[in-house]
Assembly symmetry: D2
Homo-oligomer: 342 residues x 4
Amino acid sequence: MTHTIAIIGASGYTGAELIRLIATHPDMRIAALAANSKAGQPLGAVFPHLRHLDLPDLVTWEEIDFSGIDLCFCALPHKTSQEVIAKLPKGLKIVDLSADFRLRDPEAYRKWYGNDHAAPDLQAEAVYGLTEFYRDEITAARLVAGTGCNAATGQYILRPLIAAGVVDLDDIILDLACGVSGAGRSLKENLLHAELSEGTNAYSVGGAHRHLGEFDQEFSALAGRDVRIRFTPHLAPFNRGILATAYLKGEAEAVRYALATAYADEPFITVLPMGETPSTHHVRGSNFCHIGVVADRISGKCNVLAALDNLCKGSSGQAVQNANLMLGCDETAGLMLAPCFP
Amino acid sequence: MTHTIAIIGASGYTGAELIRLIATHPDMRIAALAANSKAGQPLGAVFPHLRHLDLPDLVTWEEIDFSGIDLCFCALPHKTSQEVIAKLPKGLKIVDLSADFRLRDPEAYRKWYGNDHAAPDLQAEAVYGLTEFYRDEITAARLVAGTGCNAATGQYILRPLIAAGVVDLDDIILDLACGVSGAGRSLKENLLHAELSEGTNAYSVGGAHRHLGEFDQEFSALAGRDVRIRFTPHLAPFNRGILATAYLKGEAEAVRYALATAYADEPFITVLPMGETPSTHHVRGSNFCHIGVVADRISGKCNVLAALDNLCKGSSGQAVQNANLMLGCDETAGLMLAPCFP
Amino acid sequence: MTHTIAIIGASGYTGAELIRLIATHPDMRIAALAANSKAGQPLGAVFPHLRHLDLPDLVTWEEIDFSGIDLCFCALPHKTSQEVIAKLPKGLKIVDLSADFRLRDPEAYRKWYGNDHAAPDLQAEAVYGLTEFYRDEITAARLVAGTGCNAATGQYILRPLIAAGVVDLDDIILDLACGVSGAGRSLKENLLHAELSEGTNAYSVGGAHRHLGEFDQEFSALAGRDVRIRFTPHLAPFNRGILATAYLKGEAEAVRYALATAYADEPFITVLPMGETPSTHHVRGSNFCHIGVVADRISGKCNVLAALDNLCKGSSGQAVQNANLMLGCDETAGLMLAPCFP
Amino acid sequence: MTHTIAIIGASGYTGAELIRLIATHPDMRIAALAANSKAGQPLGAVFPHLRHLDLPDLVTWEEIDFSGIDLCFCALPHKTSQEVIAKLPKGLKIVDLSADFRLRDPEAYRKWYGNDHAAPDLQAEAVYGLTEFYRDEITAARLVAGTGCNAATGQYILRPLIAAGVVDLDDIILDLACGVSGAGRSLKENLLHAELSEGTNAYSVGGAHRHLGEFDQEFSALAGRDVRIRFTPHLAPFNRGILATAYLKGEAEAVRYALATAYADEPFITVLPMGETPSTHHVRGSNFCHIGVVADRISGKCNVLAALDNLCKGSSGQAVQNANLMLGCDETAGLMLAPCFP
């Protein structure tokens, strides 16, 4: 059975990645593509790499007839997303890729994003979209909030460990390198090739990154107490990929056991043999996540590292995976593309 | 109907690309993977990006039982390939990705490769694998010789123009930039990241590149007279992609018409609107080829540019496309993956 | 003797490169730095890599007291440059890095830049800044116009050949790859890392690039007749460097002899042994230019390739070299930095 | 006064960087260049970017007449270095860039490098070459051991903090990204452009990296007790640069004060204003090191980040700085080159 799909925000990188994935999806058909700033253009003018696809031209989202749409992906910037989704039909299934519905607490939202939420009822309704841990809720949901890409990576490392009680909750450090597409298609000086290639730097150091709002919410709920981790992201000179390196207090064997158990049946998450570590090169362009555990030379301490593609498993791949659940498709449909290496 | 596939030379980049493509091919199943220097290892040890696939471990090619194999891809280095293929079962369908069977004339082979051919009967039997121009022969062939990746790109530009008689045959210039995967997974100083990134250089300048053997053979046959083009490849700091820029004497309108006519029904080749030019970014990871035509300010002269992915359309994608024909599959099966951008 | 220097347009890449070079120049001292959009900021806020230098804060150019300035570099965008320079003191020595004073003919200027020149008297006064060929005029000049970076590279190949009459003037092709810093620090989508890295494309194809105005002017003057070359630039994924590949009709030996003779005493230009070709890697960050000649397999034809750093020898290094002449310094002062490899 | 210099191991990246720096050094002259595997070749054949320099051809180190040499840089691989240096004249001043003389304890050397030291007397004689902290000993030394590049970066962060007692010694984490030139010019698959670009991975995770031997030795001596830090290096897709991110328990203000005090008079080390963080882009190609301090949102915790160029300040620049001290030159001579950005 083919489901009819609309994408709002089709001119950004996560929009393009949705289209790339759906292009070979056996059960989805794109019926409408919206990008208000580029309405009227064919998709190939905005993303020439998608010119071979037989797709409708870009329109404004207001022009879409949602009566025939089974599910709508919303890949707008945060803040805009909540305003637009509030105006969409109330019964429409929606997967939102912005930050707008990730935090359940209006206070937390205000703290991290600096403004009051414009759609608090939707905020309450939305299901957090980390598929492997919210599978049932997502299957039944109308509105799913895609997670932050860094937030997904960190949670893939830490959720099973917190749940299993195998690490010291007061001393969790998450160091992370993220590729440039994580910042979107925005015209900022620091995203220019000449500024960004051939080097690296940290940003939002010291606990200032917004994805900490998700970590705080999820880890505290899981632990039944406040959990505050330390988190430093770095901007690295590649386009796709996140590599997270967690510094933990806990026994490597117990840590790896908790991870292997949690992900034993997951199609997209692989826990590597003890001592092996992942590379972003090996998940590029795919929906896979590789996780490795290494004991430190200091007893009682270990590292866990995870690699995924921020645009795919960290964003649009996750969105398709969630949509598959919401529409009753096979969860892996359209997502088994092998990584593109080299 | 599922066809059973063997790949010899599975530890190189074209081998990996074959596996990536076949991983989502509806009608092919990999039954054997050979890589003599890495025999005994699981594929995931050699290519961790393919670890999610349920595939046989690497063996030596001598260990393969070919009785159940419908088609064998051979992705060995040139010279080795002719020796191995000469020992394979005589009835086995083979797509060779090396340079060994591209040149039909033993003299030309000796001139460009420096040694006598070890399997001249197979050299005579092999069909040149440029799908769009040898479709019927490939469909009927037992042994197909994959083209050079630069040779494919140049021919996509020039064959329709030579056939239509719309360019001066004595003044054809083909300038080209090729990504580093074109040189394979070989340990050479000039392929190190520290040597190759952040700059570019030409190589085999002045008519020394072996793919000229293919150009000479094919263009002369097509024109019914000797055609010798000028050709300069450049090594560029990216992993996948070829951009060819041809400098021609001929009318842009006639040139574009010849191209548009030749490729009107081709699923993978797009001729852009007059004046638009292609980018390797827009074909990366895919089997598509984009071609653009621009009139020069000097009347009677024009440029034609073509972009494709050297590992895919220039090599392994072409091989799968040819195998589809040889096996009676849909020609585009497994090959409609959208480019991976950004 | 120390000369006092002002730089207008200090917040762009050519401004930063001027400061980098002058930082170790034995005879120049920077007294004023202007960047109107960033006036009031310390230089280290705009270019943290220059924070170790003891330099004045950025001001508007109107705030500079030119009475104590010996020479002013003007690194503004074109069009702005002519307006600002028209208002500077009439006796001030100026090296302009913009496109505004490169073309001597007001008609040619209008044709290539689309507007009437705002300072035609200065246009008439300016000396074209290709040091090796205008050395005496530059030494005596008040206002020197820096050349285009592509225009410099092409002229280093072609001027000696046109002067010596060793190539066919009606069939000159110049193919070129330029690093991204050539486009400046401007916020354009195609200059983002995610759009530009890992691939290449041509631009201004078919004779549309403005540097052709310089080629037309200079080559025609040199030949005593109209000369129109074909020229295609490509945007390549590295920050610094230009590699030009010329396709010529002429004997390689005569061509190399003309080049070797022309540059025999030049400190920055090296003609490689016959058959060797240059690489941008080997001139990165320096004021050197490497030129190589290769005979084609087709007799009577040859390639000449040249590599230089667009920001240095192609722009700011050239500017310092010209300023050295204008101020009576040693021509190589501040410019003997070895290339930065890897 | 000009000092006469020999370089052994001139065909590697640190050798090339030494030559680049000495090329503009006012008081050093290179009299001999040795590279046994490339003896007989001109330097320009091995490093074309240095072809403009008037330098002697490469010889074997045994061919060098050391009677006229004031100081010898030894840039050989570890293990080879100790064997060669043991055979050099006993009175010759030597700066060694290998790992051979960094560890003072023969046991520690055996543990980290897997073999007995071949020159234990020299091991005892050598002075550890971290200039800012061993200045007097280096000035008086005959044999100086260059530090590991990662080891230098980590010590610039941690030595002042350990000395001032402002961080918890039992909970020091050092996360680090290093550019590819840190691995030298060796032919390894993981250093190929196609394998390394466009992604990142950790290596020597869990306390396995040899530079921990230096950290253990230096920090324990400084603290007067055993100090064992956690350390994870990452291989990042750029050629030059190290960015270290330390996770510390201590007050940010006290931490920054200790750093600012320690480096107040250092010409090459800059402590950024509180809250600012460094970037490798801003030190590339230079001898500068930028250090930034940021308080964490969790009170009592902070990050310190440091950036330097592994080839320059982390290796060859440090070596020249040490040689300056040993020869009585100005410590900064030849080292004030501004970073090369973009």
